[in-house]
Point group: C2
C-alpha cells in the first residue's frame, strides 16, 4: 500500500494537536472540501459522518472559518512534511523532483479529486480571509520548496520561473484529470515535466 501524502492518512498524522474526534472531523471535511469546495461541507454532514450532532462539531471548531483554517493548515503541514528539506538532498534535480510528483500523483489517485488548495485557491475571493491566507501560504511554501529543489549549482536557469511553471502544470493536470475523468492527463503531464526539467536542469 502506498503512503498517502496529500490525501488523508491517519497513520502519518502522529503529532496532531487535535483530539481524535476533531481529527476525524478534519479528515471528512478535507476530503469533502477537495471535491466540492468550502461551501460544500456542512456542520450537519460532518456531524453525521463522524457520529455526533452538529453542535458538537461547533464545539471543536466554533466557526466555519476555524474549520477551514484548520483543514488547510493541517494539509499544508502534511505536504511540507512529506516534501522534507529541499536542501539536504543528494541526487539529481529530477530525482529531487520525484518527491513532489509522487505527492501529487498519490493525492489524485487516492481520492480522485484535485489538490485541496487548488479547489480552494480557485475560489479564493469567495473564501473567508483567514482561510484564503492559509491557501496562499500553501502555494508560497510549496513554491519555495520547489525553487530550492531546482536550484542546482550548475544550472543558470531561473528556478523561480520554472517552479511556478511546474506547479501550475501539476495543478492544472489534476483538474483536467478530474474534469474529464481521465487520469492520463496527469500522468502525461508528469512525463513531460520530467523531460522538460531534464532538458533544462541537470
Amino acid at each position: 500500500m502506498s503512503r498517502a501524502y496529500l490525501s488523508v492518512d491517519k497513520q502519518m498524522m502522529t503529532k496532531h494537536t487535535y483530539s481524535p474526534k476533531a481529527s476525524e472531523i478534519l479528515d471528512v471535511a478535507e476530503n469533502h472540501m477537495r471535491k466540492g469546495g468550502f461551501d460544500a461541507v456542512s456542520f450537519r454532514d460532518l456531524a453525521g459522518a463522524v457520529g455526533v450532532k452538529s453542535a458538537s462539531v461547533h464545539y471543536h471548531f466554533p466557526q466555519k472559518t476555524d474549520l477551514g483554517q484548520a483543514v488547510v493548515a493541517r494539509y499544508r503541514g502534511r505536504v511540507l512534511e512529506s516534501l522534507g528539506d529541499a536542501d539536504d538532498v543528494s541526487g539529481t534535480t529530477v530525482e529531487r523532483l520525484e518527491r513532489l510528483l509522487t505527492i501529487y500523483r498519490t493525492a489524485l489517485t487516492d481520492a480522485d479529486s484535485v489538490c485541496l488548495c487548488n479547489m480552494l485557491g480557485a475560489e479564493a475571493q469567495y473564501l473567508p480571509e483567514d482561510v484564503a491566507a492559509e491557501v496562499d501560504m500553501f502555494f508560497k511554501s510549496v513554491l519555495s520548496w520547489t525553487v530550492k529543489a531546482l536550484s542546482s549549482a550548475e544550472s543558470q536557469q531561473n528556478a523561480e520561473e520554472w517552479a511556478s511553471y511546474l506547479l501550475s502544470s501539476l495543478q492544472g493536470a489534476m483538474v483536467l484529470s478530474v474534469a474529464t475523468n481521465d487520469h492520463n492527463h496527469y500522468h502525461n503531464t508528469e512525463k513531460l515535466i520530467r523531460q522538460s526539467v531534464q532538458a533544462v536542469f541537470r
Copy 2:
C-alpha cells in the same frame, strides 16, 4: 480595449438564442460561478443583479441544472468561436498558439478569476450530471483544437501529449495567480510555454 474571450462580453455574443434578459442572467451567473463554483450562484442573487424576482429567473431557467448547462455551453461556444479553425492557419505553431494564450490571458485579466471550466471541473463529481458533461465537452473540444494547432507536418512530436500538457499548465497557472493574487504566475507560464513549444515544435 481588449476583446474579452473567455470573459463575458456582450458585444461578441451576437448569435445568442437567449433573450436579452436571459443573456444578462447568464452573464452574471457565469462571472459568479467562475469565482465561487456552481453552488455560489443563487436564484435570488441573480434576480437581484438583473433587477427581477427569483421566480422570474426560474421562468428563463426552470431548474438550476438548466442554468448551469446553459452557462457552460455558451462559454464553450464562445471560446471555440474565438479559437476559430485550427487547420486553416498559416504561420508557425507558436503563432497559432498565441490565440489560445490570448484567450486565457484575457480571461484571467478581465475577471481576475480562473477559467469557468477549471472551477467547475474541479468540482465535477459534485455537479449535476448534465453540467459535468458540458464541462467535460469543453476540455475535450479545446484539447482537440490544441492538438490540431500543434500538428504541423514537420514535427514528429506527440501533439496529444503536448496539448494536454499545455492546457494543464495554463489552467493551473490561473489557479496559482488567483490563489496568490499574483498574475505573474500566469504570465511566466505563458513565457515558458512559448519556449517549450518553440523548442519542441517548429
